[in-house]
């Protein structure tokens, strides 16, 4: 597995009272071409109309970044395509595009960055803010109603670097209320520097969440505009091992336990029988925690050296279902599934160690619910982790 991870995530709060946002963030990974594109667009106005404009912009930007066309030409096409607002008679939406390319081992990360009218993106090396100025290009479009300046820059990133892209909802937070001129870029910069000094390895998810929550509080908890913040962070990967199912051959039990012992990172054991094998071989006691269970998820357990021990198929099925449906963590009951998902979402690389022995007890036709086939479930889990959550996964059968 790769030794460097590109952690991209965002947080967003819609304008108070809106059910849909005018800021749209999109990202797409294309592992075959070693490319990731992240786009943030802010459409004119708010609500549905703005969302249409921003989605259109972000989608075009994403598609065009994967084409061999140069970014300036792409920007021209985007702006020529946007529909004209009926009231304001202009067509407008802002965008920031980060076109990230890396080589096979994730070293030499090069970001082709383009921004139009969004607040200037922030660049942090470790916890220090570094000011940057890009080349400014003027578009000279026929239909332009104002001077259209596009800022372009190339960043060569290394471990510890962050690019933080924000929408104007962040810089203008508190405008006319808690801050006469809003939070402003300098305020945001200072706030992020302070966070990074305290927790230098904060994940993109946690960092962006803190920033949007701060902006929301400056707005008096009723956001005046869509507040969006995304972060591209280069770091060492966090790894999680998921062990599920007993090995096909009993003789491989030792091997399984050795692999678990040798793994560096978080460890989850998914399956009662598997947990028993590990417990026996490593001589560690399993303690079932009867306080965390729900109607369809059996209680989780603790074992010294493991981060989580759960029952197998029911818990896994629910984990897969929850991740596929993208159900937010706050809506989950405090059970094994929630702990499971928290652990997975906090890691970048998930390695599956799958035992292939069939559980005789599950072949009983009187079992009332459908217990999925382990391999199918794991394949679904891998798929959703890769596609919906952009995690890297690998699998090993034993």
């Amino acid at each position: 597995m790769k030794d460097i991870f590109i952690d991209i995530d965002y947080s967003q709060i819609y304008k108070f009272g809106q059910k849909i946002g005018g800021d749209v963030f999109l990202q797409k990974r294309n592992p075959e071409r070693n490319q990731i594109v992240a786009v943030l667009s802010d459409g004119l106005g708010s609500g549905v109309k703005a969302n249409v404009l921003a989605s259109l912009t972000a989608n075009m930007a994403k598609k065009l970044s994967f084409s061999p066309m140069d970014l300036k030409h792409s920007a021209n096409i985007i702006m020529d395509t946007l529909p004209v607002c009926k009231e304001r008679k202009i067509s407008y939406s802002t965008f920031s595009i980060a076109d990230i390319r890396y080589n096979a081992l994730n070293s030499n990360i090069r970001v082709n960055f383009l921004e139009y009218d969004n607040p200037h993106a922030l660049f942090f090396r470790d916890s220090t803010n570094i000011d940057w100025e890009g080349d400014v290009t003027i578009l000279d479009r026929e239909k332009a109603f104002k001077k259209e300046e596009i800022v372009h820059n190339v960043f060569n990133l290394r471990v510890g670097d962050r690019i933080i892209i924000i929408s104007d909802g962040v810089t203008q937070a508190g405008l006319g209320a808690s801050r006469s001129l809003g939070w402003r870029l300098n305020g945001v910069k200072q706030y992020i520097s302070d966070i990074l000094k305290d927790s230098p390895s904060i994940s993109s998810r946690a960092l962006t969440k803190q920033i949007v929550n701060k902006a929301l509080s400056l707005d008096g908890l009723a956001s005046k505009d869509d507040i969006t913040c995304c972060c591209i962070y280069i770091r060492k990967p966090r790894r999680t091992l998921i062990v599920t199912g007993p090995p096909f051959l009993k003789e491989s039990d030792d091997l399984l336990c050795q692999k678990i012992k040798d793994f560096k990172g978080k460890k989850i054991i998914s399956g009662g029988t598997t947990a028993l094998i590990v417990s026996k071989h490593l001589n560690k006691k399993i303690k079932v925690d009867l306080s965390t269970w729900s109607k369809d998820v059996p209680p989780s357990s603790t074992m010294d050296g493991m981060d989580l021990v759960t029952e197998g198929m029911l818990t896994l099925s629910k984990v897969v279902y929850t991740l596929e449906k993208k159900i937010p963590l706050v809506e989950l009951a405090n059970d094994a599934v929630k702990k499971y998902i928290e652990l997975i979402l906090d890691s970048d690389q998930v390695h599956f160690l799958v035992g292939t022995k069939i559980n005789e007890a599950h072949q009983d036709p009187s079992i009332p619910v459908e217990i999925g086939i382990r391999r199918t479930l794991i394949e679904r889990l891998r798929k959703t982790l890769e596609e919906n959550y952009l995690k890297e996964t690998s699998i090993e059968y034993i």
């Binding site: 009662g272 947990a275 079932v288 269970w293 059996p298 021990v309 029952e311 029911l314 599950h362």
Partner: protein
């Protein structure tokens, strides 16, 4: 001194889906006074489901003896019996 009754409820997949989840609500059907005199814990699986000598799932182990086809009523009854037999 009273001897505590050791109860282990299996929370493995097979037991959990066939009624084991109801047994975890033991606070609702066992007398609180009796519960105080029991050590109740969950266990990930004791492989009772692989054979049929003890009946079928869900299984509960009470003082090292495995009972199958467990229901809340049956569990309550057995726990009371075992408790009184021990503390005669």
């Amino acid at each position: 001194m009273d001897k505590k009754v050791k109860i282990k409820i299996c929370v493995g997949t097979s037991c959990f889906v066939q009624g084991g989840s109801d047994l975890l609500l033991y606070n609702d059907f066992i007398d609180p006074e009796i519960i105080e005199k029991c050590d109740i814990e969950g266990i990930s699986c004791f492989n009772a489901c692989k054979g049929h000598e003890n009946g079928s799932a869900p299984f509960v182990m009470i003082n090292d003896k495995i009972y199958g086809d467990m229901t809340p009523e049956k569990l309550n009854k057995i726990v009371i019996e075992v408790y009184h037999a021990r503390n005669k």
